[in-house]
């Protein structure tokens, strides 16, 4: 992965997942509120299974690619005499994909009719993220300072996401935690791009000067900007999801009056909710 593409590829995956999670959970949240006892749940269950399947397929492809690229280890772990390890970097990536694959399998099992306790899917996702962070941590320990700094910043996003998903094991279907997870996935994605730009500028030229204190100061600040950007993107995503669900409901009902009434109800129930949380 020591080139720009190697950072851009996983970056794209994380960005897609961040956007997708935000969209899914926003749709779920709005459709639940506007459309109580609707047919939505069955549909969402099927979406979850599909998401799990996609995770499995992606990670299996990832594992195979890491093993069977021309300069990959081709499933050999060591060779020669005395033994030398074969392409451990590729093996590490394979390991990372393996845990996302397990997480995908658990997603599928949870939403098909097997007897898996609810919550294990989130625990497995948390473990997968923790393993990713764990491998990354030891991966960058012995690198030069600038390299180490930008990868450490990435660890904040990874471990933050792992902790947030771990909380979801116990506070399932909490929209705040779900949006937090989406934002941290997005942050991971965009920051991986940034790492690529800093260490392997795609338009040629050398990596940034690690001895320039200004560069370090800028990158620290830039990490915050990435998160601000993630928040803005998710907010727009969330607003679009609201519009879509609202439109959907109107079309179904066939009348604008129904929606107006619903809006009225929402407003009053919103006030009651805030009052309730104020009073309670």
């Amino acid at each position: 992965m020591a080139n720009f593409k190697g950072h851009a590829l996983p970056a794209v995956f994380f960005i897609i997942f961040g956007l997708w999670w935000c969209l899914k959970y926003s749709l779920k949240y709005h459709s639940r509120r506007l459309n109580k006892n609707g047919p939505g749940n069955h549909w969402f269950s099927r979406i979850e299974i599909t998401e799990g399947a996609v995770k499995i397929i992606f990670s299996v492809i990832g594992m195979l690619a890491e093993q069977f690229v021309p300069d990959g280890p081709h499933l050999y772990l060591y060779s020669g005499d005395p033994h030398t390890w074969m392409k451990l970097m590729n093996w590490q990536h394979t390991t990372m994909y393996l845990f996302f694959c397990i997480s995908g399998i658990m997603d599928v099992l949870t939403y098909t009719s097997f007897q898996v306790p609810i919550g294990l899917d989130r625990l497995m996702l948390s473990v997968a993220l923790f393993v990713e962070g764990f491998l990354f941590y030891f991966h960058v320990m012995s690198r030069p300072l600038l390299d180490q700094l930008i990868h450490s910043l990435l660890l904040i996003a990874i471990f933050g996401a792992a902790a947030s998903v771990l909380l979801e094991t116990f506070l399932r279907d909490n929209i705040v935690l779900e949006l937090l997870r989406s934002s941290l996935a997005l942050l991971q994605g965009t920051w991986l791009f940034q790492i690529g730009f800093v260490l392997f500028p795609p338009w040629g030229g050398p990596a940034w000067d690690a001895n320039d204190h200004g560069n370090i100061m800028f990158l620290i600040m830039c990490f915050c900007w990435h998160y601000a950007l993630a928040i803005v993107i998710l907010a727009m995503n969330y607003a679009v999801a609201y519009r879509v669900v609202q439109k959907c409901c109107t079309n179904k009902g066939g009348t604008e009056i129904k929606l107006a009434k619903r809006k009225e109800n929402e407003k009053s129930s919103r006030i009651a909710l805030l009052k309730g949380s104020d009073e309670d």
Copy 2:
């Protein structure tokens, strides 16, 4: 900010917010207990929106000031050839204000009729405080020992407040957490003043001697005194809020008898509450 004023200005803001939060939450708590089902909630909702608006205005002014002061970067991030970074310190402060601005926007959205999930406002405030601490942390890493120590102490207040607000995301309207947050904001404010006094004595003279172990021992202890002071101020604030709400209720009812009765009820319900918490 490398002067006394640069520390005093944010100090004043944090002190005002600490006092204000304590007053607001105390009033809310007392008025809810003395005056059930009263008209108070609508009023508090409007206060929250105003608070959010004030936060937005202050942080926008802050951002503009940091950019357009005479020696500011005027929105240029880098210049020259080869590129050199422009006034990164001002940019860092701008970044910090940006997150408080986002937090203010979320406050306003939560209490107006948009579809924002309850709890996101607290999460955003926690993120804003975390970003503040994060920038501070890297800001002081390479400073001399005394400087580093007093800024590290500040980090305890900042990250403590971030953690406390994060808990509020899940335990909303918990008066204990709200008072804790107020006290930590107050501590941040008074300690910023202390930093100003230590590093840039306003009546001239050199900064304190970093090699005197006594100075370090005193500052560590002094940090505790600041927190004790914050507790005392908040306690008085809290008592005043109680008096005000009590008076207000009496005037409304028009009779002293009503209050006396209410007091009686309070006492018995208080005992029941403590008993309940004892028994349960």
Copy 3:
């Protein structure tokens, strides 16, 4: 405090508090279970107020003693020209007592009829323990290795207790947390004695040899033994409390039959409780 007595005195206080807390909470727990709706609650409320008052008195005496012992600072913080700090060690101890005093005041206020929100008393106790640990941490940073190690072990007990009490703010009247707090207070007390024995052997002779690796290994293990001892003492304390409450109930009822019945009920409700927690 750099002598055996200086460690023994606070040790005695912590041991007394550890034993007292265990006794109080055990009595409360048993009397609540054996004697539902009994007159006990009023009595426990008065005990809490007394405990708070004792804490205030002890800590005020502590503060005065630290200030007005012959070689104390007599309320002078600095003197001379140029300024030199006066007896900062005594001032640090005064600070520590100050927070326990605040915690005592909050205890009293919570259980008298003022409008203090329930939970603030635990928060203040947690803050007092945190401040104690905080001062200790900076206190021992620059000491020799052995000294630093045994004080670090003490910090585990102090911060453990602070965290446990912080949890009590939200999970009030949880007997498991209350016993945990008692055990950590007891551990703190006995370990302070151990520190005294190691650094200032009361029967003369030099402090233990810091260069002997065996000493360090032994002390680490010894810390665990202290905790095992604390558990055993608390278990006996708990059993005695059970006997006392049981006897008390019998004497009141005047008949052995009543007790026998109650025992029967307990057993069945116990089984139901475990079943319930199994099933739920």
Copy 4:
């Protein structure tokens, strides 16, 4: 324990406990769901007592063995003049067993009819694991790098398990936490084997070369593989438990029809559950 057997012995114990816990909690979970209000609870209570007794017996044997092996300390803590410590390593292991013994006693007391508050058994198990990790931590501090690394990885499993069990104190009978604990116990066991293989290869030859960076990279990755293996083993264990409980229920009911009905019910209640958790 500085040989292969010394690592293999505790490894076997942890593997047995990991498998046993997974089996027990899976059986409990499935039998509760398939067989509501059945006679199972009494049976599980007896199993818990037996488990506690086995823990006590094993740890007493462990303590005696550590003390009275030919080159053990035979209960002497120090000897000679000047005093030298006797076999502190054996004493440390004795200490570790002591806490598991206390945990076993608490298990037995919780499920026999004494007045022990529910949750203390989990707290004591958490303390026992914490003490194990604590002793290990100081045990390996001054070792060479490779040795330190593989023992540090073990600490992740130990402290992870301690934290997970601590959570169980408050979230009792949470199947997700129970499976997490089982998986971490299994990980501890298999990793102890790995440590034995690395430091004391059972088929002779020298320990692995600590200067080969490849070895370190491989071991970090290998730790993840061990956890993946633990997950797979537990999943099979869990599935077998489901089959057994299902068979058991069928045999009791005597008819296949009953089971079919039950399955139908399960499916619909499962959907309701997921819907519920989706909606709530």
